[in-house]
Symmetry: C2
C-alpha cells in the first residue's frame, strides 16, 4: 500500500444513524488525524455560541495513520469537542489500549453528534458498528461497566473508552477513561459524552493495518525496543515515570503547594517519587506495545484507613501535585484513595485537586465552613478532607454539586474574596507546574487555545537535552538561558514547541517517546510517518501541521468572542509573593514582562499583536481560508 | 570527524595583510556558508551608505561544508558584496571548479576588504596564501590571464576565479569567471573586485575534506550518478540544459522579445534549443564531479563572419533570451560572438543583453542615432549591431562607456522618454522570463533583496513536479492553479520557495540537482548535509536558514533606506500590452493585484505590510537581534 486513507464513522445519536466517510488522502495530508482532525470536525460542525452540553456539540475520537504500528508511543488517541469548562474548542489526549484497537476495528475516527434518547454505548468491531442499550450500565462505576460490556459481548479483550457517573451527572471536568486507568483527562469531555447519553465506546478488531513500507515498520519496532534499554534516563523513567517531576519541580521551587502560595512542599521528604515507588507501587503499567511502561500501578491490598482497588491505577505526577502538595497533603493513602475516586467516577485529577485546594483555602479563610461542606473540616493537609471532598465532587453530592462546576465557577458563586485566589485561566485549573518557576508554563497557560495545559509546549528545562550551544536558536529547538523570567528565547521556545507538540498530538503519539528531548526524536517520528504512509513527509511539514491546528483553534475561539482579554494569568501569580522556602521564595510573575512577551508570542505566530487573533494571511497560508470566513460570521 | 568548522581567510588589500579566522561551529550552524555567510560578513563589515566601489566594500567568496563532496551539484560558490548596480546587499552564485578547489586549498571563505595599491592576484594553496603582483595581467582578457597564472605558478590544474578587463574598468555589470566559462554573473561584483585592484584568486590544494559519515558520502556519490541515468527529463536536460527554457517560455508566451514588448519570438523556429544543440554545439561542459554536465559548449572552428574561441563556452538560456530574442536577433553566430565578448571581458550577459535591447529601442525611436553609437545601426534584429555594441560595452569604448552603467543609469542620462521603456528594478536588468506570463517572477523581480533574479524563487509551473493533489498547500511546496495572474497560492509559493532557494544558495549547491522538482530533492540535500557535518539537520532548520538570509538582506537594505517603494515593476509591465502572438498577447501585469499580492508576500514573511521591512520580532526569531539594532542606526 502506498499513501494513506482511513474510514471515519459519523454517528447521529439523536437518530441512531450512521455514515461512513472515506476522505481523500489530501484531507489526511492536511489534517492528519488525532487532535487536528478532531478539531476540524468540531469547527466545521458547530455554529458560534453552541452549547457545549447541548446535542449540537460535536465529539470526536481520532487516531492517525501511525497509531497501531507496533512501536513504542504509537498508542494514543485524541478526543475533541467544544469544552464545557472553557467554552473554547479543545482536545484531550489519552493513552492506553483503545486507540490501536480502534484501528484494528477498522476506523480512524468517530464523529458523534446529537443526543441519544436513552443511555447507549457504541460497539465497533471489525468494520461493523451498532448502538447498544446502556440503561443497565448508567450510574455504575467504570470498573463495573467495563466488566459488564466485556461479559455481554463475550470478549475479554474488548477495549472500552467510557465516562463514569461523573460524566453522566455533568461534572464539568469529567473525563473519559479506558482500561480504567488511562484518561483523556482534561476539558470536561466526559460531561459532553454524558450529555449525549453515550456511556461508552467499545472497540475490538483483527483488521491489521497495511503500511507503505512494512519492513521499515518492523525494523523500527525492533529498534524502538532496543532504544528503551534499561539504562540512563529511561531506566529512571521506567521506574519513576512522570513522578520524577516532583524532584525536578522541587529543585526549581516550582512544585505547587498550598493552593499555589508556595513552590516547595514543607514535608518534602514524605512526598517524593522514591517513597511512592518503594512503598506504594507494585510494578509499572503500560500502554499498548510500549517498551517504556511508565504508568504508575499501586500495589494491591491497600486497606487502611481507606481501601483501594488497584485496578484503577495509581496517581501520576499531576495527581501527586494537585491532590498532594497543592492540598498540603502528605498522606499517601489519602492521595491514592482520592485518585481512585477520580478514576472510578472518571474525573480529571488536576481539576479536582485544584478545586479541593481552592476549597481548603476558602475553609481556612472562613469563606466556607464545615457546615457548608457537609461536616468536612477542610484544612490544608487533611487527608481525610481530601478523600471526603473527592467523593462528594465525583458523586456531585452535597457541596460536591458546586465543586462539580470547577474552581472558577465555584469562586464566582462564593464572591470576589474567593475569586481573588482562584487559580484558573479560561475557567480551567492549572496543571502542577508553577509559572513563577517556569516562565514557559506561565505563557502557555495563558495563551493556549484550550486553557492551561502542561503538554502544549515544552518546559523551560526540558529542551536542554535537545539542542546545544552549536544549534542554539537556529532551528525549531531553543536553548533557554538559566533564568526564571520569560524572555524572548523562552517565548520563542514556547511558540515553536507549541507547534511541534500540537503536531505530535495530531499524529496521536506519546510525547514521552517522541519529543525534542525524548528517546526518539521528532525526526524519528517523521521516519515512522513515512514508513506508514509512504508520504515524503518532512519536519517542515510537521511544523506547519502544528501551526495549522493551533490557528484552527484560535480561529474557532475568535468566532466565540475570545481574544487576548482571556489570555491572562490570575492575580495570585502576579501579586502574591511565594511563601515558604526554595529558590523562588518571595517571587511573583512580572506582569509587564508577561504582557510584553505575550505580544511577542502573538507576533511570532503572525497574529494580530493586540487581539491575538489569527490574521487572514496566516490562515490562508495554512490552507484555512474557510476558518477565516467562519471567523467573520461571529 | 563529527561536526563542522572551517577556516576563513580575511585579506586587507590596502595593507596586504592576512588573518585566518576559525569561527565556532555554532557560527556555521547559524550562517552555514555560501550566500548567507557572505551576506553576514558584508553586513557586519559595512556602514550605512558605504560606496560599493570604495575600498570599504566587503567582498566575500564562500562555499559550505558540503562543497567538494564528490556528489553532483556540490560544486558551487557564492560571491557577496554591496552591489554597485543595485546599492543593495547581494550574492551571486557560480559553478565550475573553483569552489571545490578552495576547499582542497584549505579554506571555506575569503573576506576581502580595502584596495590594493597596485594590481594583484591572490594565490591560495594547501593552507598557504599570498598576494602576487598582477600588473602584467592588467588589461588582458580572461583566457590570457588564466594561462599566465597557471604558467607562472607552474600548475595547469590551478583554478582561477577572475575578473576581466570589464571589471577593471568598472563596468557596473562586470562579473567574475572561473575556467573562462563559469560565472558569478550578476550584481556587478566584477566591478567591486576591480575597484580593489584584485584581478584574480587562484586556488589549488590537496587537502581532502573529512566528513562525519564518509561511508554515506561515498554511497551518495554512487547513487547520485545513478540518479542522473540518461533517461526521462534528465536525458533531455543533459542534451539541452538551460536552453530548454526557450520552448517552455514560448509555450506560455513568456519569452522576452524586442525589449519586453512581445512574449513570442516571431522567427521562433530559428532560435530553439534544438537548432543550437544540433548545429552549433559540440558536446556539453560540466562543473566539478557532476554527472549531469548541462553546460553549453560551442563547437570549435566557428569563423565566419565572426570567429569564436570555443574555450569561452556557449550561451546558456538567459543569453539566448537576452542577447537573442529580446534583441530580435536570430543570427546564431552573432549571439555566440556576443556571448564570447561577454565571457572574455567578463560581464553579465543578462545585463548586457538587456542594455543592448534597450539601446535598440532607443535607436528605433530616434532617441539614439548611429552617430551616437559610433556608426552602429542598432536596429532590432541586427546581429552586426549586437556584436558591435557588445564589444563597445565590454571595452567601455565610445558609447560603450555609457552602456557600461546599465540600462537604468543609461536611461536616466537619455531622459524620461527612454526611461519609460527601461525594464529594470533597483537598477538591475530582468532575466529572460516574462512576468506577464509567470506571476511568480513578476513578484520576485520586484521584492528580491538584490534585484530581479530568476533563481531566487521557483517558477510558475516548475513546482508541478514536486507536490501533487495529496500534499498541495500543506507543506513548503505549493501547487499553483493554471492561471497567469498572481494569486495567493502563487504568492505563497514565491515566498516559501524564496526561502528554500536562499538556503540552497547558502549551502552552495546546484538548483538543477537539488530542488523541489529536481533529480535530488531538498530532503536528499539534507541527507548530504548530515553525512558531511554529523548535525541533526532537518528541512525545518533549512527553511529557517533561508528565512534568516532573506531577513538579513532586507535588514541591510532597510538601513540603506530601501523599502516597498523600490519593490516595484517598471511601467512597461503594467501598461504596455504584449504585442505579437502567443497566449499572453495583449496582456499586462495587473498593478492593483500585484500590489495586493506584494502586501500578502510581506505579511507571509512577517514584515511590516506597508514598508516591507523586517520587524524586530522576526529578526530576533531568526537570531538576528544585531541586524535589528543595526537597522535602527540608519
Amino acid at each position: 500500500m502506498k499513501g494513506y486513507s482511513g474510514k471515519i464513522l459519523h454517528v447521529d445519536l439523536s437518530r441512531g444513524s450512521f455514515q461512513v466517510e472515506q476522505p481523500p488522502e489530501s484531507f489526511y495530508r492536511q489534517y492528519v488525524g488525532g487532535a487536528c482532525l478532531g478539531n476540524y470536525y468540531v469547527f466545521k460542525g458547530l455554529k458560534a455560541g453552541a452549547d457545549p452540553l447541548g446535542p449540537e456539540n460535536v465529539l470526536v475520537f481520532a487516531i492517525s495513520a501511525v497509531v497501531g504500528a507496533p512501536i513504542s508511543g504509537n498508542a494514543r488517541h485524541a478526543v475533541s469537542a467544544k469544552s464545557p469548562l472553557t467554552g473554547t474548542i479543545g482536545s484531550s489526549e489519552g493513552g492506553g489500549f483503545w486507540g490501536p484497537e480502534l484501528r484494528f476495528a477498522g476506523f480512524d475516527a468517530i464523529v458523534l453528534t446529537g443526543k441519544s434518547p436513552k443511555p447507549v454505548y457504541l460497539w465497533i468491531h471489525d468494520g461493523e458498528f451498532q448502538l447498544k442499550d446502556a440503561s443497565h450500565l448508567w450510574g455504575k462505576v467504570t470498573g463495573e461497566v467495563q466488566d459488564a460490556i466485556r461479559q455481554e459481548l463475550g470478549d475479554e479483550r474488548i477495549r472500552v473508552a467510557q465516562i463514569g457517573p461523573a460524566g453522566e451527572k455533568g461534572v464539568l471536568y469529567a473525563n473519559i477513561t479506558n482500561e480504567l486507568k488511562h484518561f483523556n483527562g482534561r476539558c470536561g469531555f466526559g460531561a459532553v459524552m454524558g450529555s449525549k447519553n453515550l456511556r461508552a465506546i467499545a472497540v475490538r478488531g483483527k483488521m491489521k493495518p497495511e503500511y507503505a513500507d512494512p519492513d521499515t515498520i518492523k525494523e523500527l519496532a525492533r529498534k524502538g525496543a532496543a532504544k528503551v534499554a534499561p539504562d540512563g534516563f529511561y531506566k529512571d523513567f521506567k521506574r519513576l515515570g512522570t513522578t520524577m517531576n516532583v524532584s525536578w519541580n522541587t529543585a526549581i521551587g516550582g512544585l505547587p503547594t498550598r493552593n499555589w502560595t508556595m513552590g516547595i512542599f514543607p514535608e518534602k521528604e514524605k512526598v517524593t517519587e522514591f517513597v511512592y515507588a518503594d512503598q506504594w507501587m507494585d510494578g509499572t503499567g503500560t500502554c499498548w506495545a510500549c517498551a517504556q511502561a511508565c504508568k504508575r500501578d499501586v500495589k494491591a491490598g491497600i486497606t487502611s484507613p481507606w481501601p483501594v482497588e488497584a485496578r484503577y491505577g495509581g496517581p501520576e505526577y499531576e495527581t501527586m501535585g494537585m491532590m498532594g502538595t497543592n492540598c498540603l497533603v502528605s498522606d499517601w493513602n489519602a492521595i491514592i484513595k482520592a485518585n481512585e475516586w477520580a478514576s472510578k467516577y472518571a474525573v480529571d485529577t488536576i481539576a479536582l485537586g485544584g478545586v479541593i485546594g481552592f476549597v481548603m483555602e476558602c475553609y481556612e479563610k472562613g469563606i466556607l465552613t464545615a457546615k457548608d461542606l457537609g461536616g468536612v473540616k477542610a484544612s490544608f493537609g487533611s487527608g481525610e478532607a481530601l478523600v471526603a471532598l473527592s467523593e462528594m465532587a465525583v458523586k456531585r453530592e452535597g457541596f460536591g454539586d458546586k465543586m462539580a462546576l470547577g474552581t472558577a465557577r465555584l469562586a464566582k458563586l462564593l464572591g470576589p474574596q474567593a475569586e481573588r485566589f482562584a487559580v484558573t485561566v479560561k475557567g480551567k485549573e492549572f496543571p502542577a507546574h508553577m509559572p513563577t518557576a517556569k516562565g514557559s508554563m506561565g505563557l502557555i497557560y495563558a495563551v493556549n487555545p484550550f486553557g492551561p495545559d502542561h503538554v502544549s509546549t515544552t518546559h523551560d528545562g526540558d529542551i536542554a537535552a535537545g539542542p546545544n550551544e552549536v544549534n542554539k536558536g537556529v532551528g525549531i529547538y531553543e536553548t533557554v538561558p538559566d533564568q526564571w523570567e520569560l524572555d524572548f528565547a523562552k517565548t520563542k521556545m514556547t511558540a515553536y514547541s507549541q507547534r511541534y507538540v500540537s503536531a505530535i498530538d495530531s499524529w496521536s503519539v506519546c510525547q514521552f517517546t517522541f519529543h525534542a528531548w525524548s528517546i526518539c526524536s521528532l525526526e524519528d517520528l517523521v521516519t515512522v510517518i513515512n514508513a506508514a504512509t509512504g508520504w515524503q513527509y518532512t519536519l517542515a511539514e510537521f511544523m506547519l501541521l502544528g501551526e495549522r491546528r493551533i490557528n484552527l483553534m484560535r480561529a474557532f475561539n475568535a468566532r466565540e468572542g475570545f481574544s487576548s482579554k482571556e489570555d491572562v494569568l490570575p492575580p495570585r501569580l502576579f501579586e502574591d509573593p511565594l511563601q515558604g522556602e526554595g529558590p523562588r521564595k518571595g517571587a511573583v510573575v512580572d506582569k509587564a514582562n508577561f504582557l510584553k512577551q505575550r505580544e511577542n508570542y502573538y507576533r511570532l505566530n503572525g497574529w494580530d499583536p493586540v487581539t491575538g487573533n489569527p490574521t487572514e494571511v496566516k490562515l490562508r497560508e495554512l490552507g484555512l481560508d474557510w476558518a477565516w470566513e467562519a471567523m467573520q460570521k461571529k
